[in-house]
Symmetry: C2
């Protein structure tokens, strides 16, 4: 029906690009292709991306199109996501993709396929945790998809405190087997992606018990389903945990085996040694967070299932035929994996902001509503100052987060190489920074994405807008892979230690180098209004604020301890302040990296591009101060005169950014199928796409809904019996 209407009503509708958005493109002051190449990492990478987009959306357009997805049921979404997974795996094999190609493919497809944990968790877990002999047995099977696996760690009753996991693997000497068991309801595995319906195998984390002694948590390879008919094996009960807020997968944190049982909060008090690394280590589902993807997050109940002793993955610990347990190593590579996951989340946060900024800017350019000047046509809503103030922070935030992700990926690979050579020097810093950045940037992105969604008015509440689903998908990022408050507290612990070092004269390095500076004679570097454009002076304001907030809580902790209160009371009574300190430090990190990257563009890119990037960065840095005025004033890092100048400069920059706004989102060069939004397509024909989307709505396939015959008819005819 809708299709027929479309033809009838679109007769006066432009098939080309909406003139309102074309006008915006004409005012661009820089070369968008230059910026696209910068974002992609070079012209060759842009080219490769376009080749893959062509493969997915032109050659396999029906399968990979977003258009029907907002209208699918959970089960249909799952099936569609499985189909896409299988196709991607086939293409991977067929074209012999590199890992980089595969990564690129997952990004283009918004991580939107159901079986991706097989490549992102299951195979890496085998590589990390299995002996060479075990790898020789299992890896070929996994790589050729003769088995499909996932990673099962989190339990119904334990997400954050992974040391409290309850699943057991009890060694039976008589049979040379482990007896795997779920002792009670709260110990069932709960959340792992692909566990409910897809996977044949899983790496299951369980407490190893030998002769009644608990030997800590270890990984076990467990077959879940028959390879003949996919039925669950005897002793294995599997199910789906039900629908999520968004139709996407989420896994609430994994712990890589770690047999050291150390109560978390005890640790802080040991002068801040980076013992935080020894607990709450979450490594998880790095493949399928963003977008409209759906996964069969499952539960697993194991009822005295027997597996051979050889199925314990024994790279780091071993159990002999006689039941002798030996801890072999405590490989730091596991920690590196956890860090990589958090860097990935930073990158996903960027992806969500990128889509939201793209949709909000484009729709605001073509949506006209009311007028500023009497007698003139309705205004593009992008003209309104309040609208710009909703959207441009996300636009700038996208670029900021892009550069931060880039920087953190480099830091990770550099640290990883050192770790592989046995040097763990960089691990503490990297752990503290990525924990805090994951928390800060996922907080920031969800807030900015939601503000963009609201800027789309009521239509932003429709699933077909794409931005609505993007927002609720992004909400998963704040609790997965380390709940944000827990992560802030980990960063705060590191900061307390570093501050103690600095105060006692030990030189701090890296992100906390500023702690060695002498702030006693601090004067706000913003002396005239023009200074508000000076990124380095602005950075100094952030430095001073971070230093003072951290120092204040460090002193408070010390004072409370000296007053004789128990450690756990002191810590709990200052938790809110510790989170605040971590945020101040990480906020500094964010603008510090952003400023450095933008600064550097002067030497590597055109003046035009450098100029527009600097303006955007300037806005972001000032916006950050204005949003947290309280902190900056309380810490006396700026005065009231400075604040007035900053507010003026902030509003002035909105007008400066305005003519480039559409081009700044065009430069992301997102394929329309990746934007996946009726409101944010390149052609700007938002209303046309909105209306066309309704043809996929199941309720529009008939004129009269069954509810009429069952319920409404009786009501209208005065009959008292609805067929309930």
């Amino acid at each position: 029906m809708a299709a027929r209407l479309t033809a009838e009503f679109l007769k006066d509708w432009s098939k080309g690009v909406n003139p309102d958005i074309q006008k915006e493109r004409n005012t661009c002051t820089f070369n968008t292709e230059e910026l696209t190449n910068l974002l992609d990492g070079g012209p060759e990478k842009t080219k490769r991306r376009k080749e893959l987009e062509q493969l997915f959306f032109n050659q396999h357009g029906d399968l990979f199109s977003f258009k029907r997805r907002p209208f699918m049921t959970k089960s249909e979404l799952y099936e569609h996501s499985v189909a896409k997974s299988v196709k991607v795996f086939q293409l991977r094999k067929e074209y012999g993709w590199s890992e980089e190609d595969y990564d690129l493919a997952t990004r283009i497809l918004n991580f939107d396929f159901a079986l991706s944990l097989h490549h992102t968790m299951f195979i890496p877990a085998l590589e990390r945790l299995a002996t060479d002999e075990q790898k020789a047995k299992w890896l070929p099977l996994a790589q050729s998809y003769q088995i499909i696996g996932t990673y099962a760690q989190t339990e119904l009753g334990h997400g954050t405190n992974l040391l409290g996991l309850e699943t057991t693997a009890t060694f039976d000497k008589d049979t040379d087997e482990f007896v795997m068991n779920t002792p009670r309801l709260s110990s069932m595995k709960w959340w792992p992606g692909g566990l409910a319906k897809s996977c044949t195998h899983a790496v299951v984390l369980a407490q190893l018990v030998i002769d009644g002694t608990n030997c800590g948590m270890h990984p076990f390879m467990v077959q879940l389903r028959s390879l003949d008919d996919h039925m669950p094996l005897p002793g294995v009960k599997l199910g789906d945990i039900g629908p999520k807020l968004a139709a996407n997968s989420t896994d609430n944190g994994f712990m890589i085996l770690n047999s050291v049982r150390i109560p978390r909060l005890h640790m802080l008090m040991k002068n801040g040694r980076v013992l935080s690394l020894n607990y709450c280590i979450t490594v998880g589902d790095i493949g399928q967070k963003i977008g409209y993807n759906i996964s069969d997050n499952g539960f697993l109940i194991i009822n005295k299932l027997r597996i051979p002793r050889q199925n314990m993955l024994m790279k780091n610990a071993r159990v002999t035929r006689e039941g002798k347990f030996t801890q072999l190593s405590n490989n730091k590579a596991n920690y590196a994996t956890m860090i990589l996951v958090r860097v990935n989340i930073i990158s996903w946060a960027k992806d969500t902001m990128r889509q939201a900024a793209c949709v909000a800017v484009r729709y605001s350019a073509v949506r006209r509503q009311t007028t500023l000047k009497p007698g003139t046509p309705e205004q593009q809503v992008l003209d309104f100052q309040t609208q710009q103030y909703k959207i441009f922070p996300c636009l700038a935030g996208t670029y900021a987060t892009h550069f931060i992700a880039q920087d953190m990926f480099s830091a990770y690979y550099s640290a990883y190489n050192e770790i592989m050579r046995g040097n763990n020097r960089k691990l503490g810093e990297l752990h503290a920074q990525t924990s805090g950045l994951k928390a800060f940037l996922s907080d920031m992105s969800t807030s900015m994405v939601e503000t963009c969604r609201r800027s789309c008015g009521g239509h932003g509440y429709l699933k077909s807008s794409g931005i609505a689903e993007n927002m609720v998908s992004s909400l998963a990022l704040v609790t997965i892979e380390g709940e944000n408050t827990v992560l802030y507290l980990q960063t705060a612990r590191y900061l307390m230690k570093q501050m103690a070092n600095a105060v006692s004269g030990t030189k701090t390095e890296g992100s906390t180098a500023y702690m060695n500076r002498d702030f006693t004679s601090y004067m706000c570097p913003i002396e005239v209004r023009e200074d508000c454009k000076n990124l380095h002076k602005l950075r100094d304001v952030y430095v001073q604020r971070a230093h003072k907030v951290i120092m204040a809580v460090a002193q408070k902790l010390q004072m409370d301890m000296e007053s004789g209160q128990p450690q756990e009371v002191v810590f709990n009574n200052n938790m809110v302040a510790l989170v605040r300190a971590a945020r101040a430090h990480i906020h500094l990190t964010v603008i510090d990296i952003y400023i450095s990257k933008v600064d550097n563009l002067r030497y590597t890119h055109s003046t035009e591009l450098s100029k527009v990037m600097t303006e955007l960065c300037n806005f972001f840095v000032i916006y950050g101060i204005v949003q947290e005025t309280g902190d900056f004033l309380e810490m006396e890092t700026i005065g009231l005169q400075q604040l007035e100048w900053l507010r003026q400069q902030e509003m002035d920059l909105l007008a400066v950014i305005r003519p480039n706004a559409v081009s700044l989102v065009d430069s992301f060069d997102l394929h329309d199928e990746s934007v996946a939004s009726t409101l944010g397509q390149y052609d700007g024909n938002a209303y046309q796409h909105l209306f066309e989307s309704t043809q996929y709505e199941p309720m529009n396939q008939t004129q009269v809904h069954p509810a009429y015959y069952k319920h409404i008819r009786g009501l209208l005819k005065g009959s008292n019996t609805s067929k309930l």
Copy 2:
């Protein structure tokens, strides 16, 4: 399958109340029944509520249970919601409910039935807009459900600027008919609840055209579907607009007929006369916002449909047989309706916070995770300061918003009675206050509800948690019935006018009475730490802040105007500041009402209750300052010493509230079916309910999903062809 597991795994699971939550109830310092009665409005109202809960959840438990809803498809949800509607309508008739009973019923059921616009928009529109003769014809049909109606105003291209609506009703003198038409795609009606599949009739807003002259927007009664077979009539095309972010209905604002065409922004400049009432008047769907409800929000395309002249609802304007148009009145009762809708939204905001606080507090009491003190059992997460700081603001905010809604309902009815007697004195103030409060409290509630959701960790992302769906439902409140930024700007206009009056010596009254005060010798009233407990001193801090923020933007506007900039430029360049001013004023209103109500409890209720309510209010008022420290410091309403005291008092109050937290949510006395959450049931058995819910998941009805046969089997067997 799940059902069988349940029996097996629950053998060691307590069927009674979880001891962790029982312990919390034992520490309560007040009488929860006294508080419940206060919230309900008296013991008799509590009793009546329980009678209706009994009727719905015991006598008709299968129909009204929430348990299957998170697992239903959109179409199933619609059908279920229709069935519930029909049953409620039948019960209404059968028991002869009063309007108050019906309202109570809708609240108990979370506004969760599909046809509610019939009673909340369609019938009231007839009562307001039809002549006596027209009422005599249509009302009996509507009241006996021989016709079911909705109200169709918003169009695809116009939500906010309702004067831009494009649907036309052209008078044809020859036949004495109106020709209703949708001239282009952007003019189709889009959003009205019940329009797609349910309704037989609608009141349609359209531009009246006579002899080529536009006579403004007027309401027309239009039959949409046949009363025989429910098929759309010729010339009428109907459809569903597709799934929303949450499975609930939303309507993006209606405009009650208003023929005065006044460009909005022009108005401000006319010395702020409350002309804002003349445009952007949104009155809408007051029946079905919260919860898991689903409505067939529809589109309507009218193709030269002819209706008799008598179908124009002519109470306020008339068209004669000869085509003579007369505007009869500009009834302010329409404005009153708009205000009532906003007050209702304030009340819904309270409902969303109430459910979120209930779920978050109860789940935090039974969830144990990590430990504060080494060697002790895992801690209830409610013990952590950061957790309290996430949840208690929402708990306090619920009570604040309850009292504000109560106050605004009274103000509305008092103003309405005056308006009916021809006195519009209170209208401007009430409009400004309700616009601002709707915006402020919907912003506040969505933010607090989301923070509570995050406090539930990963499980808060599951639909069965109830809090997830509650959060996305509540997001509709920020754009419906006046987008929040637009509403803040309306309040700001009123404030600019009032400030101009105050400065010129005219006495301001009501909420802006403080503008007459002399602030030149302001000294922060908080002189010692103990003053942080003094609600009246804290209120003075808010008063001073509001005054200074408003004065600052008023002066800026005047300065810019005097510099010769065009009005529209001045207005646009200060929009962000105007929103800030409105928020400062409304924040004051919020704490002002809250403090007055709590203060009054000393005289009407027990000391114990008054004490706990005062503590909660104290926390809320300080929390408000700490959250917006920047404003308070910038306006020099507090100094750094005061801020330090306030922060200390804020943290101290967390510990004070802690022992009463569970009892404060128990006092809401929400039926478990109204809480509609696996995590937040009264018995505190969160994990049990979570697991039991999975039995309703469609994907759990078989062991092997069809996706295996179509896609996965081929992959596992090495076949290259997935059945795509």
